[in-house]
Assembly symmetry: C2
Homo-oligomer: 348 residues x 2
């Protein structure tokens, strides 16, 4: 239905650098991201200085800057893929977009390069419709609308807080799936955006996402680290956990979440078979996590994202933390993040 | 992931004839439907004999046959678009597919004609995944799988009971939307099938659907008729209502529902502006219907589709029927349908 206007000053693009040379990555994305302010956060475990080509408006944060801002004990929260969360902390904009540094722009079915930035902002600036499913997908996309039978009282929708994009070529499969089917790539370009319905959970991937920082800033942090978490997506659950937190809090606050477009093209990194050899906690933990989130209720007093994170941390500690130290640490990390968030946001 | 094999003897294609000459419609569909048994039901209000070209394995049911089977008083249940439900009653197959007679085969993005029959059967024969959302859409489609983070314990899925296809060209908008935007057509081919999550409701359209008769046969009946229901889709709610019934019962019984592919090409019929001139109950009634279905709970004793229809009819009578005679009539019609269904199915 509607079209949006993008104000470049309202957007930060956060890149977590887990590889040292960002030149190929940034050159691929230049046509779409050069008009925006970039926040580049270097994985604290990465030695040396990250390489960035000229012509970008970028602030770069390395280990010393992270330590200086949050203290060296808290800096451990920002290792590996989690370095991006330090970028979320540094942003002062309404919209934050983050894309993994092994992705390049995808092509649509007509062969045109996809402007993932514009699509994410469109997703966030148009309402979400979590309370009833529209079979014609996002009714606020150009050329779409609400289908016959959609209640008129629900057509205004609610604010959209999170936009989850997808991946062509190497899709975001887990290590067992990719190891079993090494040739399985994703070639299907599904030309749709849709709101994930209320009370429906999904695995949010951090590879290609955007969010409204003013609505959900305090929630977008991954407190959850597997004991042997590695530097490849197969070996992490941090974004999956955070997605569950965002969804349950968004549902409570009446903030929607969209999935679908934009696609990025994802190149291979890491070996699924090697990842399988490690002892991996992810599979079993996920089985405990879902029933916990499905049964979670917030109090009426929880009216902000921050209130909800506090209640969520307490519930994680009580219901999950007793049996499994990974969860207990997650609860502590959530509260620590809130402190850092508030200190940093009040200081600015 | 998986591929299905279609057994032609397990499928009935039901066509509700609301126009007298089915020749163009059947010729358009011949390559896809000629291997199957057709059940053609003539709208009882339609005078004369419906015209059907040679070369089809078809049983045709006109008013006199409907009267002879269910009695002339019950025959009123099967007027207009509802004539298809008489075809559902006559079927003895596992899968029933029904497409409105103003639709022709659509073309996909590569310009190939879409075999809607094969796609519907694939949707029904592969599991549905209503308890967690897969961001890569139906994991049982060719070339797809479960995304990282999808709980392994949920990957078997549940049986799929209903497959809802979509429409290109004239999408299924309501009269106000189409009247406001007369040029709005649907040109977006979304190459996806997805399971509608549990407890999520959607407007099911009867234009292009398929279902598993053995799982849901007693539910697939539209008891709900607007007082001034017409012969064009704008003026009906029968399928929307029935879709809510199917979804709430499927959720209770652990039977899934898919939406998306296959598309059909829908030609114009009727004037949205003319439809708007009629007094139309649909908008207001829908606002009452959704909260009712959202709060509905079945007893543990309701373990079959038939049990659920009985409980649903009682709840409709009690909670909706007091204020609005349309609902009271719907409750009665549901029970009447059950009687007809049981009599007809036990007789055969």
């Amino acid at each position: 239905m509607s079209q949006v206007r993008i104000n470049n000053d309202e957007v930060d693009i956060v890149i977590g650098a887990v590889q040292a040379d960002l030149t190929p990555f940034l050159e691929d994305w230049r046509p779409f991201i050069s008009p925006f302010h970039l926040i580049i956060v270097q994985d604290p475990d990465l030695k040396g200085e990250v390489k960035i080509p000229g012509g970008f408006n970028a602030d770069v944060y390395s280990k010393s800057k992270i330590d200086g801002t949050v203290g060296s004990s808290a800096a451990a929260l920002f290792s590996g893929y989690s370095c991006r969360y330090f970028g979320y902390l540094m942003s002062r904009k309404e919209y934050v977009i983050s894309i993994d540094d092994d992705c390049t722009p995808a092509k649509d079915t007509k062969g045109h390069l996809v402007d993932a930035i514009a699509q994410h902002i469109t997703n966030l600036q148009t309402p979400a419709t979590p309370f009833f499913f529209n079979t014609l997908y996002d009714p606020f996309c150009k050329g779409a609308d609400f289908v016959r039978g959609y209640p008129f009282s629900m057509r205004e929708g609610v604010p959209c807080g999170l936009s989850c994009g997808l991946w062509l070529n190497l899709a975001d499969y887990d290590a067992p799936t990719q190891a079993l089917k090494p040739d399985l790539t994703n070639n299907r370009y599904v030309d749709a955006v849709l709101t994930v319905p209320v009370k429906t959970f999904m695995p949010v991937s951090g590879i290609n996402i955007a969010f409204n920082r003013e609505l959900l800033g305090p929630v977008l942090f991954s407190s959850f680290k597997l004991e042997k978490e590695g530097k490849i997506r197969y070996e992490t659950m941090e974004d999956i956990w955070n997605g569950m937190c965002v969804k349950v809090i968004g549902d409570h606050l009446g903030i929607g979440m969209k999935t679908g477009l934009p696609y990025v093209w994802r190149k291979e990194r890491g070996s699924a078979v090697e990842s399988l050899k490690k002892e991996w906690q992810g599979v079993n933990l996920m089985e405990q996590v879902l029933p916990f989130f499905q049964s979670l209720c917030f109090s009426k007093e929880a009216t902000t994202a921050e209130d909800c994170v506090k209640e969520l941390a307490a519930a994680v500690k009580e219901h999950l933390g007793q049996t499994e130290p990974t969860f207990a640490r997650a609860a502590e990390a959530m509260l620590e993040w809130l402190k850092i968030w508030n200190k940093n946001n009040s200081a600015s």
